[in-house]
Symmetry: D2
Subunit: 375 residues, 4 copies
């Protein structure tokens, strides 16, 4: 810590720290440092910014660039040696914590027919969004779920979970999403490998969506007391159907089009305590207005093509591309087709942000709500 570091943060606005260095103060600062302390006014303006400035950088990861590398990993490592065979998204601003955006981790996992990863559990919350292939399955605390493209699955905090592809399947790729960086940052991550390396399947296959997949219907005496959704799998067909129905009766949001949150059917709250997810539909030709809010967001294009403008930069996307919107970054979306709808899957940390009372939102007020696109 030196003179210039103090001066860097000075502001002359009333109510902000504006203390010039002096020999006496520098001596004082040195004395404080010796006592494991510091003078607040030397860092106050730094640690109390006027508004958030995310460390994350807007990035678009093109599936056509990633796919071959993901598939190539099959020949490079086994699930046994790798733990899981995953290529993770490494935001240039978050490399220190291996995050795709904010405190969220994401990766593309590939498994071949007959492969099966070992079971483990962790305090981090995990979800998956299936990208391609058939025959994939996940086992969560003894509940086996079969997975198809664009299905959304959760493996919550503390559950034993493992993945595989059946012998008669095809190579499968899905996106993993976790809050590992968040739980690490909170110094609350625990990891355990299943004692038998694999779980027994103790319930009928797909019993969770069978029991909880009726809208507005709840099994009697379910006894569910966990803090996450008893519905582990949200199938694409039903999700897309719900979006289309909603699109017929609602204008949706000017910023998001028609957006449905995946929720815990037992509480109406988010699927897990820390991480949420949604699927949104942009109607043919729809172009949303820009807004910004707190929270970190990772989108995957579930259907169609279009572009998003994030902090003034345009990102063109097509199916299975992934892109992030950092906290407090202005963003808007456009469907490139005049005849087909486009769908964006998203996972985010809004449950965390909301639980802590930290959500704020702001519309982009100028230019009719559209950001100028930077050269």
């Amino acid at each position: 810590m030196n003179t210039s570091s103090h001066d860097r943060y000075r502001e002359s606005t009333p109510g902000r720290a504006d203390v010039p260095d002096s020999p006496e103060l520098l001596a004082y600062y040195a004395e404080l440092e010796r006592l494991q302390t510091g003078a607040l006014w030397t860092v106050a303006n730094k640690i109390e910014p006027w508004q958030p400035k995310s460390a994350s950088v807007p990035v678009l990861w093109r599936y056509r660039d990633l796919r071959e590398h993901v598939l190539h990993s099959v020949s490079l490592v086994t699930p046994e040696k790798a733990g899981r065979r995953v290529i993770y998204l490494d935001n240039p601003g978050r490399r220190d914590v291996s995050a795709a955006v904010g405190w969220l981790y994401a990766g593309l996992q590939v498994m071949h027919p007959g492969e099966r990863a070992s079971a483990h559990a962790h305090a981090a919350s995990a979800l998956r969004f299936i990208m391609e292939g058939s025959g994939a399955y996940t086992i969560v605390d003894g509940h086996q779920l079969t997975l198809n493209a664009r299905d959304f699955v959760i493996t919550p905090n503390g559950t034993w979970h493992e993945h595989g592809v059946s012998d008669d399947g095809t190579p499968c790729i899905w996106q993993d999403g976790l809050d590992i960086p968040l739980v690490n940052a909170l110094e609350a991550n625990f990891y355990a490998v299943h004692p038998q390396l694999h779980q027994a399947v103790t319930h009928p296959v797909n019993d969770s969506p069978a029991a909880w997949g009726g809208a507005g219907l709840q099994p009697q005496h379910h006894g569910w007391t966990k803090p996450y959704s008893p519905l582990f799998k949200y199938e694409w067909a039903a999700t897309y159907d719900a979006l289309q129905r909603q699109a017929r009766v609602s204008d949706g949001s000017p910023y998001d089009g028609v957006l449905m949150n995946y929720v815990n059917p037992l509480t109406g709250g988010p699927v897990m305590s820390t991480v949420g997810a949604s699927m949104q539909l942009l109607r043919p030709g729809e172009r949303t207005q820009a807004h910004r809010h707190t929270g970190s967001f990772l989108y995957q294009v579930a259907k169609g093509r279009g572009h998003s403008v994030i902090e003034g930069r345009r990102f063109d996307w097509e199916e299975r591309d992934i892109f992030c919107v950092p906290s407090w970054a202005f963003h808007e979306h456009a469907n490139a087709s005049d005849s087909e709808d486009a769908c964006l899957f998203c996972f985010h940390d809004l449950p965390t942000i909301n639980a802590l009372g930290l959500y704020r939102e702001q519309a982009y007020a100028e230019n009719g709500g559209y950001q100028p696109v930077l050269g």
Copy 2:
């Protein structure tokens, strides 16, 4: 109140009132009565029973008996003069409050194509279960819902609501269920006729199930703050499908078979604050064991045929028959078919009983869980 009335309730058990009348006490009682008071020990055993003894009588109302009378009412009164053209179920033990069971009212309403009842609102909570006909609709606070057989619809406390049958429909009959007797008893009922007699339809037809009918999916920014379900209509096809799926993965309850509660998708709680509803499936040949619990229940046979044993009496039922189970009455159900499932719709006051902390349940312990049927 006289000597015999006091003596009627005496019990010699320790901890119970057991005070014989005497001239001195009778004089004392007279003095107390003059002061608008009484001696607790003269009524204590009466007002503190060892367990509930319902005033309601188990009754089965056969649809084949009622149908012609319901249809006949069309020629007798108009909706305009009748308010609503309804034949209500009048439990012999509850005639003073016009209840079908406990504090629940039920009736069969009939409307012809082109008829339309005027809009009103009340503090009582209402629901409907469609029994026959096509073209029926309900409008709830400007949301129009089209109704088909075995659909379940709510018109909650305080909402403007009205019913009709479209010009191209057929004569329609449905069951109304309300907590009018309860809300009257609590001296909290209010009634209002819509100033224009009819509401404007202010939303797209069936927008409520379109928006809220996706399992585990919730429209963004819905803004719903009412204490009842935003999902007003629960369609039969989806309900029956959910029961069948659940039946494939669950044994259900020994007392109820496979039972799904209709719930508020926003909270997972009951559809309305006072009244709940469920649909249950009895598999081919299924015969449940007897139990009893607090709360009053009115069943309608949605599908199939069978019988129930209620407090030792057997009631045989078929589609559209209605029967009641009073509070703390032992009851068990049996599907008469070995090849077809049977479904029972039920509405009840469990939300009230649960909110007030008054739920108790007891299995029938003897005879393998089956009541002897009284001659």
Copy 3:
């Protein structure tokens, strides 16, 4: 049921039932009755009133009238034979259910030094407000509470409880308040006598207020999961102090003066699921305006003298007098003193009314908010 009974309820307002009797209809009604049914339009206007009309009558019970009779009961019956030695308040409109107002029971219980009533439990919720004497105590599920004048105590649904007066005490009188009539009406009352007739005291005396009597402070790892307050006793001194403090910083309500609700410190909700209580302070000379609302209320004058106007009738009261305000009855209160404050203890069924979504309130709009007092 005859012609006149139908005609009695006819109303010519659109949206209300207005069907004149005819020979054909009378024959139809007879036929319906045979099938345990009725025509709704014959009772609709009766069972759907425009607004509540309470069956309860406003009554003032003067303590100076009741006290000698309460004390006299000591020589007439023992606690053993009486169960409990209580004179109950018998509202002229609610004699069929032995209620003081609405579905609320109240009585004055007297015990002499050394007396001890046996322990019992019931599904009804009970509370006590101590009126005079020293040495009284209650034991609730093994927690003993010593009681002084104007202390408020709860013995919730399902708890074992018993009362007594220590050998060195004086004759004690307290008011019991229960929802027995409500729980009976809901056919959910259960009663049990303690197997040993008396409980062991399993915790330090007054441990409940010791643990839970700190404002804004909660014992760590308390493990409380019951649906009622873990704070069983609310002492007068602290209550009166809180009212005085609040009176210094708040104008209070125009209808109630400064009113504090007794609450469950663990949830901020009512002390029990069905029954609540409050203490309110009327400043010297304060006269509140009239309003009405749903719910039934029984007041006891804890301090001072004054009067209340209830549905246009004036009731003058002094310390320990008890009076009731029925549902939807206009009421207003006045402190008769220009120098002393007056305090009203009240218990009521608002937790029930609120849980069921049935609360409505209306100010008295005319005459500056004051009711004309009837001759």
Copy 4:
């Protein structure tokens, strides 16, 4: 990233990543990096630790060391230039985020009679614990609170707040505690200076504790809807009294003695959404056993003297000393006096940890529950 960095995290345990570097893999990694991606197995064991290893270091800050420096700051900077005149605690493991422990900031603020800092608001949640002096006050959203030694005060997320010392006061020192690092990390911090630099006092002084300071009592119609406690100040006298009462009826916890959490009286939950606080009492001679749990904790000695053992290191403390316990660090406390009790104030992020479902706890199983103290 180079070969050795990958190898550093390899583990041979089944279920963990154990992939040796190879030329082919290194080329592959380089390719991935170009696409803003990485191979999970190169970082998996690092980002999924078996259990938390806190970056924070256990530290004890002695008040006798800090006090003179804090007082000296008065002559070095004005509140106007400094914003706030605070010496903050700078954990050697958390210097990058200016935290005292975990994501919690703490500092010692000093103000002289007549001084007044300007009003501001931020998304971070703040609290204060008064250490010495008289005449201090805080204004929170127009509510002025007068402060004495060992009072605990909150200034929640989003509130306008400002501090000062009255002209007739003495130099005052208090500890500030905030979650600034956490809210910064979540990229959700906002800061605003009050447009007039100072607030109007719009309520009677100390109206918050007057209204909300009654145990088990709640002002009627309070209208409070904020997600934090309406009780802003928790006074020492009442807190210490509550601890003493609890100590008479409870053994407390083997790990914490008698501990009371400061709570929101409206909900029973923590005082603010992200940060909580407690006061605990160690009885004369009491020595607690060791345990560890997630969450970060900063203690201040409110009364007495003793020592704590944290991760095997002993820290001796006396009044006003401050020390931290990092996440998942074993800790135990001992009162050094055989005649006087000792009290520890603590603030922590448990509300955050609990809201996110991340709390875990473990007792120290060996050596009778006591850690060996390291050389």
